[in-house]
Symmetry: C3
Subunit: 246 residues, 3 copies
Amino acid sequence: MIDVIITGDVLKTIAKAMVALVSEARFHFKEEGFHSRAVDPANVAMVIVEVPADGFEAYTVEAEEEEEVIGVDVNRVHDISKTIKSKELVEIKVEDSEMVVKFGSVQYSVQLIDPSAIRKEPKVPNLELPAKVVMDAGEFKKVIQAADKISDHVVFRSDDTGFYIEAKGDVDRIEFHMSEAELIEFNKAVARSMFSVEYLKEFVKVAGSGDLLTIYLGTNYPVRLVFDVCDGKAKVEYILAPRIEE
Amino acid sequence: MIDVIITGDVLKTIAKAMVALVSEARFHFKEEGFHSRAVDPANVAMVIVEVPADGFEAYTVEAEEEEEVIGVDVNRVHDISKTIKSKELVEIKVEDSEMVVKFGSVQYSVQLIDPSAIRKEPKVPNLELPAKVVMDAGEFKKVIQAADKISDHVVFRSDDTGFYIEAKGDVDRIEFHMSEAELIEFNKAVARSMFSVEYLKEFVKVAGSGDLLTIYLGTNYPVRLVFDVCDGKAKVEYILAPRIEE
Amino acid sequence: MIDVIITGDVLKTIAKAMVALVSEARFHFKEEGFHSRAVDPANVAMVIVEVPADGFEAYTVEAEEEEEVIGVDVNRVHDISKTIKSKELVEIKVEDSEMVVKFGSVQYSVQLIDPSAIRKEPKVPNLELPAKVVMDAGEFKKVIQAADKISDHVVFRSDDTGFYIEAKGDVDRIEFHMSEAELIEFNKAVARSMFSVEYLKEFVKVAGSGDLLTIYLGTNYPVRLVFDVCDGKAKVEYILAPRIEE
């Protein structure tokens, strides 16, 4: 039995985060909270969404086993979430083979998908990433959107002079630089990897100005981007494989 | 002789209301006020717009007969009305075969159409509709727009538990429900009819949050939707034929 | 050596003004300030942009000759300027064959173009234009945008009753009229010329409500439109050839 109440912003975030990579996903409800995890069809990126029980306004989950797992059409939930305001309260109930999403005087009933028909969740890889950068997620979003206009890949790099994002077009270049003093947290480790802007521009959609982003970076190695969103009520993590520079 | 002054919002409403169904219409100016009426080419819906003389800021109509009737290209008036602000004062004058629309330092001259070349206005049918529902028009608008995403028809129904709007997609459903306590007025009568969302989504364009909507509903029978808009200065009524459920 | 600081609104204005007519331009930096000038490929219109040194927040130009001249891809600068806020400070530095545009933590490097590869600037014609009209640029913009919907040319005319802008569609007409009392300045001279709306609608993009526009008008003769924008920090002048009325 699942019967929870959530604010619109958290539901919107869950939907946006998952829809960036997949169209169907398994939603897990445990006693301690909600999580979902998926890998994109090309196996280039992974998303992990977590909302602890206290990120909900009300959270009643009675699982027969350790958790309740449902299969969800993420596109549908994304469509519905667009019609909900950020501060609106939304009740989500799972009944028979339906997820009922209720807000105001409106209630949507969305058919569930058999979880076993959805691609198996990946294991979260254990990555050793030397550099740690904490910055405003809205600032990061702006840079990625600007880079998208001139190139299809960006370089993230860090050393003791700060953290850099660089993109090179055919004739133009863009460089973003923040020193340790301008960053919220920075361990000055040396790292450098290149990534696809196609993916990054989808990821930043969950981020707003004022949200915290923690970047874990290595050299020619995947990056972990951890977004703290909705005033800390939800966490969205992306792991993205590097593109190898020629 | 017609020479009236109207606020931008009222002119915009008249234009939006008519353009939902027709591209040409007869505008009637009587001593007691303005009205226009039209049926869409498919004979599925009728619109009736009324602005009493005191809904105008100034109203001078000197008719040779009981009323002055002009033929108007509704699309043109709609285009012009988009460039006018809601609170702007607009003078409308009919001179020779032109309608002159004047606001600020700008004046449009729109050629009139011979009223006899425009399809004859329908008689307003006398409908016995048991259920009466009064609610916020903005709320109704939101539900119709949501329903439009999953289906091309909706069911309106009422009984002593309240008023319902329901739409069923291939796999999903949406249900809107308001009890007597949540509605502004409700007579608890039993009724149920199905309607095309194509039409309804055009109708709701005249409505804003805070406007009053009165719904008169029967069973497998046309519905009357009466929108009180522009702070009561104008009334837009739609009559829509039902679609018969299989 | 060029190293200047400018507010976002001024950079946006320079970019918008030039991009209305050309995709490449020569930017001149003299001791007393910046200017650029260009003619469109059809030789119908000329643009002149001027920002005096005190329109910059900081202005360091050390020219070997009388001035520094660089060749600029105006489309690129326009794209970049869209990502900058009006009040943001922007540093522009010319280094080697690059123009570096820096704001916040972001820096764009744009390849320069050899100025000798860009079409030679025209001489500014010496025009005797009897009528002078000063009005709000935002008001002018609204009229041009309205005229654009019904015709591809407009007539500007003036006499002792005021200044007029007129457009005639197939069936409809629009007339804008301001008397001497409604205009900021007006010398009541008689003049009348017709112009292409295609050009005018591009020109008005630099203008906002509250900006000052001075119009110098003759009879079947080019018009000069001088826009004072960005709180007087920049001046954009367009000279547009007339279309001869049949």
